[in-house]
């Protein structure tokens, strides 16, 4: 997609895989498999993850950019 001119940002559930993959923009999240945005029904928490993911699109690069998501207490 990046080569086609479409910037991307991806959630990573396993940080070591993200490090190895070296995709352009990745957000490592502290959640279990099957729950990339956190808890079901937690609209506030899900929006916060998406905002952090979208924020990667404002990075000037170059990639790979890998950030860790920390939920607010």
């Amino acid at each position: 997609m990046e080569e086609a001119g479409i910037p991307t940002a991806a959630i990573a559930l396993v940080r070591s895989v993200a490090e190895r993959l070296a995709a352009p923009r990745m957000l490592a999240v502290p959640f279990r498999f099957g729950q990339p945005l956190g808890e079901p029904g937690d609209a506030t928490g899900q929006r916060a993850v998406l905002r952090a993911l979208l924020a990667l699109l404002d990075d000037d690069g170059p990639g790979p950019v890998l950030r860790d998501y920390q939920p607010s207490a």
């Binding site: 997609m1 001119g5 099957g34």
Partner: protein, 160 residues
């Protein structure tokens, strides 16, 4: 953080032997519009589809490299979960499809001005894929064509 230790032994053995790819050099495209004006697409690996409308995903684990294009106004609760892997607990996703396809949350972000718009279609494929090279060769051109046709400015990938 998810850990391989959560997975059944057969998955851990598969992962140990899996030929992980490295994207090199890492491609980079800068977002061309401010985020608040951007049209953003969602891509999910949960294998979501509309029963009776879309072809379901193959049940032979790891072999289905196809994708479905779903309208962004699809009823989330009506989407079936084609991802059949038992490597994760499906119950949270069954309770809230937003975990893998956050359409409601993206609409929230359109409403509050974080992004400009949600793309009219989402891309759905089954992430339990043992031949990602075939996916890149045979399926990804169609993904890119669809995203270009929808004039998206960026894409977010949500794995499960």
């Amino acid at each position: 953080m998810a850990s391989w230790d959560e997975l059944p032994l057969r998955y851990r053995l598969t992962i140990r032997a899996y030929p992980w790819r490295r994207i090199a050099p890492t491609p980079w495209t800068t977002l061309r519009v401010p985020l608040r004006e951007a049209r953003v697409a969602l891509v999910t690996s949960a294998g979501l589809y509309r029963p009776g409308v879309d072809r379901d995903f193959g049940t032979r684990e790891g072999e289905d490299i196809t994708m479905r294009l779903l309208p962004s106004d699809a009823a989330l609760d009506a989407l079936a979960i084609g991802q059949t892997s038992d490597a994760f607990d499906r119950s949270p996703l069954e309770r809230d499809r937003n975990l893998a396809l956050p359409l409601d949350r993206m609409r929230d972000l359109v409403a509050d001005g974080t992004i400009g718009a949600l793309a009219p279609r989402v891309v759905s494929f089954n992430g339990s894929m043992l031949a990602p090279g075939r996916f890149l060769r045979d399926t990804s051109p169609g993904v890119i064509d669809a995203l270009r046709a929808d004039q998206v400015d960026a894409a977010l990938f949500v794995p499960v």
